[in-house]
């Protein structure tokens, strides 16, 4: 019997914030059989997208979708301080439903950015950030600084598609016409492929950004050229400042080494002010190396719906924002929430063990396409069609450019958006909203 072969071109890989949109996927009889052009991580994600799917369960026992949704609604409407959490690996359409559910429930809503790039968002609110698109970087950047990130292992095709060896309008020679600098605490594949690797001591991002601000602006400093800042002589930082001032178009890509080391949001705040001040001399931008496929979209949706990108509370019927008070780690560490709706993230694997343990003591509703540590203990598990594979929708790339992800195979399950819509409708009915 002939097998039906379909070839999908320009498929978007939803693994990381790069959202590579040139992937080719072959589908035979509704099964993904071959993936071309993707990095190893993206290929594995697509090849395994249709396996290891969980059953619909309540307290570990198989049930129907209708019963699972009813149980979810029952748990959420009876909770006195519920948490809606996730958003990072699903479509903006599903994220929009989650925000609406949080509002109807007077719940707290947060996404994983609160423990990855959230500090950068807080800094952006405080001082702004001069940023650009990856297309601009590809076409114009002659100085690229990777600070606290290792894209060769985390965003594998970033260097070839956008930042280092990509051939752009004003850089037809690609790699040869760009200077690449890495600032990191240890050698990595990215630092090895850089022109200049500055190895720094851990936890000193703020001091480095402070010194660079002073050197770029020629402000007085209380240290001599031989003094060490983050383990590197001031004279070396002066060289970097000169390189920054001398470039035509520079960009800093910053990772969790900046946002999650000692100082967090004030690191990014100082870095953002640095970039702003460099623009007194030349064109310069900064961009966060966003991790999960649509974590940037989660911040976009929450911002346009609530006014804030993360850690939003609706207890009083209107949105309030305060990372630390309303972010997932703080809420769970203080054992404040009494039920949780979790979509498109894996708290069992991502959160600190003692923090995540509180989720095991409260009823948790979990929407997820694959078996993972959280499906093992979640109270209600509802499998869903994976976004970008079996469900279409909008994703935001790390530079906040929205892209439409395709549905390339059919699934037995509903999408996140469809399940969330059903939950929302029944909550609305139950609460006579």
């Amino acid at each position: 019997m002939d097998q039906e072969l379909k070839v999908h071109s320009d498929v978007i890989c939803t693994f990381c914030g790069c959202l590579c949109d040139d992937i080719e996927v072959e589908v035979v009889d509704n099964r993904i059989s071959k993936v071309k052009k993707a990095c190893m991580i993206g290929r594995n994600k697509l090849m395994h997208a249709q396996s290891n799917n969980p059953d619909i369960t309540i307290a570990g026992k198989p049930t129907s979708l209708d019963a699972a949704i009813n149980e979810a609604v029952n748990i959420l409407t009876n909770a006195r301080f519920p948490l809606v959490y996730g958003l990072s690996s699903t479509t903006t359409e599903a994220q929009r439903e989650m925000v609406e559910i949080a509002e109807i429930l007077n719940a707290t809503i947060d996404n994983p950015s609160s423990y990855c790039h959230g500090p950068g968002l807080m800094a952006r609110q405080q001082v702004g950030l001069s940023s650009c698109t990856l297309g601009e970087v590809k076409n114009r950047a002659d100085l690229v600084i990777f600070w606290g990130c290792n894209p060769l292992e985390s965003h594998v095709r970033h260097l070839t598609r956008y930042s280092v060896s990509a051939k752009g309008m004003f850089h037809p020679e690609g790699r040869k016409s760009r200077k690449i600098v890495s600032i990191d605490i240890r050698p990595t594949p990215t630092t090895k492929s850089s022109d200049w690797f500055i190895q720094v001591t851990p936890g000193n991002t703020f001091e480095i950004a402070t010194l660079l601000r002073a050197l770029v602006a020629n402000n007085p400093i209380g240290k001599g050229d031989d003094a060490l800042i983050a383990g590197v002589a001031v004279s070396k930082w002066r060289e970097l400042a000169e390189m920054i001032r001398g470039c035509k178009y520079g960009v800093i890509f910053f990772g969790l080494g900046v946002t999650q080391c000692r100082g967090r949001d004030i690191n990014v705040e100082q870095l953002a002010v640095l970039v702003s001040e460099i623009n007194n001399h030349t064109r310069f931008y900064a961009m966060a190396m966003r991790g999960h496929g649509n974590v940037a979209g989660g911040n976009q949706v929450m911002t346009w719906q609530t006014g804030f990108p993360l850690a939003v509370n609706f207890s009083r019927g209107y949105p309030r924002y305060n990372p630390g008070e309303f972010s997932v780690i703080g809420l769970l560490a203080r054992k404040e929430v009494d039920a949780a709706l979790i979509v498109a993230t894996d708290p069992g694997a991502h959160l600190p063990a003692d923090t995540g343990d509180h989720l095991k003591n409260i009823p948790v509703i979990y929407l997820e396409p694959h078996n993972n540590p959280t499906t093992e203990w979640a109270t209600v598990v509802i499998p869903v069609a994976q976004a970008g594979v079996a469900a279409s929708g909008t994703y935001y790339r790390m530079d906040n450019v929205p892209l439409r992800v395709k549905k390339i195979v059919d699934s037995d399950h509903l999408s996140d958006e469809e399940v969330l819509k059903r939950i929302k409708e029944r909550i609305t009915h139950a609460q006579n909203y």
Binding site: R213, I266, V337
Partner: protein, 281 residues
């Protein structure tokens, strides 16, 4: 005669409670049943305070001493109670126990005494009044809320234990005294005001400070200052004696004498260099 109101916590809630309505001016002149009906936000539902507190009122004679008569006593583990005394403008309140986030935030008068530890954002955006903590305080004391440029705009906060990170961050005016240690970045981006730290501060004292004064009374184990602070001179600032006297009246006795020498560093040069850090010489 003066009324004293006593609130005793009946049970510790398992979810957060927001109790900005618990402050002296909301209680004064009310009967027990009226106080019981004061709403507090338990999780996402408003509930009467009487569900959570035993309430008593007793009359006491007017005191002739300079110390004001306490208007409101609260007793219990209030760790999950946020916003107690928020916006308080008059009277006095004493809390015997640990208290949660935002205690005394936006306070514009009166006196708040906490005999226990506090959560984050104590006295945030405070405009006037006095807060005394006989215990340790959390992070962002007297700081600005996210997105705001200016935090504490006046008043005094005295912490007799340790304080957390970002002490007095973005403060605009006022006095903060910490007897013990504090976390990173005290006085971050402060616009003006005075922070005095008796113990050891964390790293990055005065980072991005525009103006204002940070005094470090303990010269031992100090972390290195940021490179954007430059040494000026060693001297005894004339205001030190005045500040010491004011603190003494508030019950804070500093071991340092009025002739204590300080090394003066000015910074943050990235922000104009008009702030100062004074380190005990």
């Amino acid at each position: 005669m003066k009324s004293q109101i006593q609130l005793t916590l009946k049970k510790i809630p398992d979810i957060p409670v927001e109790a900005e309505n618990i402050k002296p001016e909301n209680m004064a002149g009310k009967t027990i049943s009226e106080i019981k009906a004061i709403p507090i936000l338990v999780g996402k539902c408003w509930e009467p305070a009487g569900d959570w507190f035993d309430i008593g009122i007793k009359e006491s004679p007017e005191s002739d001493s300079e110390k004001p008569v306490i208007d409101l006593f609260i007793k219990g583990d209030l760790t999950r109670f946020k916003r107690i005394g928020e916006g308080m403008s008059q009277g006095s309140m004493r809390i015997d126990g640990t208290v949660g986030f935002h205690a005394g935030a936006k306070m514009c008068g009166g006196e708040l005494i906490i005999n226990g530890n506090t959560g984050d954002y104590l006295g945030a955006h405070m405009k006037a009044g006095l807060i005394v903590v006989n215990g340790n305080a959390g992070h962002y004391i007297a700081a600005a809320y996210r997105g705001h440029a200016k935090g504490m705009a006046g008043g005094t906060i005295i912490i007799k234990g340790n304080a957390g990170q970002m002490l007095g961050a973005r403060m605009r005016r006022g006095l903060i005294y910490v007897t013990g240690d504090c976390g990173d970045a005290p006085g971050f981006n402060m616009k003006a005001g005075t922070i005095i730290i008796g113990g050891t501060p964390g790293a990055r004292a005065g980072a991005r400070m525009v103006r204002g004064t940070i005094m470090l009374l303990n010269k031992d184990n100090l972390p290195e200052l940021l490179p954007t602070f430059t040494y000026n001179c060693t001297y005894t600032p004339s205001f030190w004696g005045i500040a010491r006297g004011v603190l003494s009246k508030m019950g804070v006795q500093s071991e340092a004498g009025t002739d204590l020498l300080f090394k003066r560093y000015s910074g943050d040069t990235n922000e104009g260099g008009r702030g100062e850090i004074l380190i005990s010489a």
